[in-house]
């Protein structure tokens, strides 16, 4: 795979734009999924991924072959996603940050027995993910959703492996706190 990337990069540098199109085809899905998890907004994610590819194309002659193209591309996209997310106040729970604990207390369903049922709410997990601090959200997304190894995450974020590890542990606990503060799920449906 890496060799194929190198070959496509060489062809792109020789002026073959279609070769770069193949690289886009190859990585757009994974990159978009990751950026979407970091931003939580379809259109913004699409813009970020598009811009990442364009930036990568323009800087392709400076790409060092010692790193994998995908890692390099990820670094560009993740940095763009994080900075965009910082610029814009997050929608959803993250916008209200500090009062999550209060909300948990006033929730009728906030009982220990509800934990598993609450965890079934995949949609709420997505919301909770967006409420995490960017540095925690990023490592959790790259680890749990992308399945990347610590070494690769450290390379992408340009931080020591130990930092990646500790951030992931903290991220898990923070995510749990946020989910626990969300309203409880129930199997029955209401109608008026």
């Amino acid at each position: 795979m890496a060799n194929d990337d190198q070959s496509l990069i060489r062809q792109t540098l020789a002026g073959n734009q279609a070769a770069f199109g193949e690289l886009v085809d190859r990585y757009q899905g994974r990159l978009f999924a990751t950026v979407y998890r970091l931003i939580g907004h379809t259109e913004d994610s699409r813009d970020v991924v598009q811009e990442a590819f364009i930036n990568a194309y323009e800087a392709l002659d400076r790409f060092q072959g010692d790193a994998q193209f995908f890692t390099w591309l990820y670094r560009i996209a993740v940095n763009a996603a994080i900075s965009l997310r910082r610029k814009r106040r997050p929608a959803g729970f993250s916008g209200q940050g500090g009062d999550l604990a209060d909300r948990a207390d006033e929730s009728d369903g906030h009982r220990p027995g509800d934990a598993l049922e609450r965890a079934e709410r995949v949609g709420l997990v997505q919301e909770a993910l967006l409420a995490l601090a960017p540095e925690f959200r990023t490592v959790l997304v790259l680890r749990e959703l992308e399945g990347l190894k610590y070494e690769r995450i450290a390379e992408i974020l340009d931080v020591p492996i130990g930092t990646v590890r500790s951030r992931i542990h903290r991220a898990r606990l923070d995510l749990r706190d946020i989910i626990a503060g969300m309203p409880a799920a129930g199997p029955e449906w209401n109608h008026d």
């Binding site: 998890r37 800087a59 002659d61 995949v122 992931i168 542990h169 898990r172 799920a185 209401n190």
Partner: protein
Amino acid sequence: MTEQDWKLMVAADVSGDLSPGEQALLRTQLAIDPHLRALQADLLDDARRLRQLPIPFLPSDFTADVLSGLRRPPIVVAARQTPKGQFRRAGNWMLGLATLAALIVTWIWLPTTPPRGGVAPVAEADFPVAQVKPADKSHVAAQVKPPVDVPDVNVPRTEKSPTERPPSDVFTSRPEIRDPTIRVERPRVSLPLTARELTSGGLDRVRDELGRAEDHRIELFAKDPARTTEQFVQACRGRGMEMLTDPITSEALRRKLRSGYSVYCEALSAKETTAILKSLLATETAPENLVLAPVIDADRKQMKSWLGFDPMDDGLERLRSGASKGARPPVLIAGVYPMPRGQVRDNTVFQERLGERSQGKLRLFVIIRGIGS
């Protein structure tokens, strides 16, 4: 060790980062601490749910979009052997002199600008030069007219040569097809509109697009998605529809949570839908953007995971035969978007209440998302 240390250790265990010795230590603590055990179960479940999050899809034309956005080719020219020292300096001098010489020659040889309304003076040259008056167009016809008469032969000719055709955009202009058995349809594509565009004629485009097919996905981007959802539901209620909702949604709406909401509805016509959108635009919390798009497989999968069945599946008609006749289909609301998998356990509520779909009514999958801070 503090409570926080133990919690971090549990998180590390979930990540698979503990050594055998640390694992043994944690097991001992877990055996005596029920809260820690609960936390471990929760963290494992969170990790599982994270991995199960639905994967969003990019449109198929994304690569083309990227390629069209490329500003300059990153072509790398092979490294040149540049002269060094005095040779490089001499080269620079020669380049400068050559440029200067070229400028002087160009200045000498360039014809002077013709006086206004006059005729350009003919430069002294050993080749014939046409004299053209500015307002005289006859030279154009003279160029087109053949020098000799060509006998008229019955050769079918195209009305316009390819070079005479006006430039057109392949995406916006329809090709002329003279075969009456062939009809050219515009492809269904996403129609993104801002609030300003919607209020200035964009709604007509929305209505036209809604009238072209039965199934649509409408995405609304609003600062207060809960309020917009309530307004949408209220407008549907005003048209005699019922509403089914789940506890999560009820709670989220009650608390005005700024998460996404999704609605499935199949009781509105194109005209009614447009009217509802218009009424939403007239409110203080009007949506700022709208994206109208055809429903794709990913949307139907989402609805299936939400409702337990795909309401757009034509094979469901037989299930609806037992529904009460005459009742209008309800508006169905799910909680945060994307819909939590397995949220609904008893989907017979929907299937029984869905009822028959009336002629001319659309199948709408509406997603209302929050934007901004």
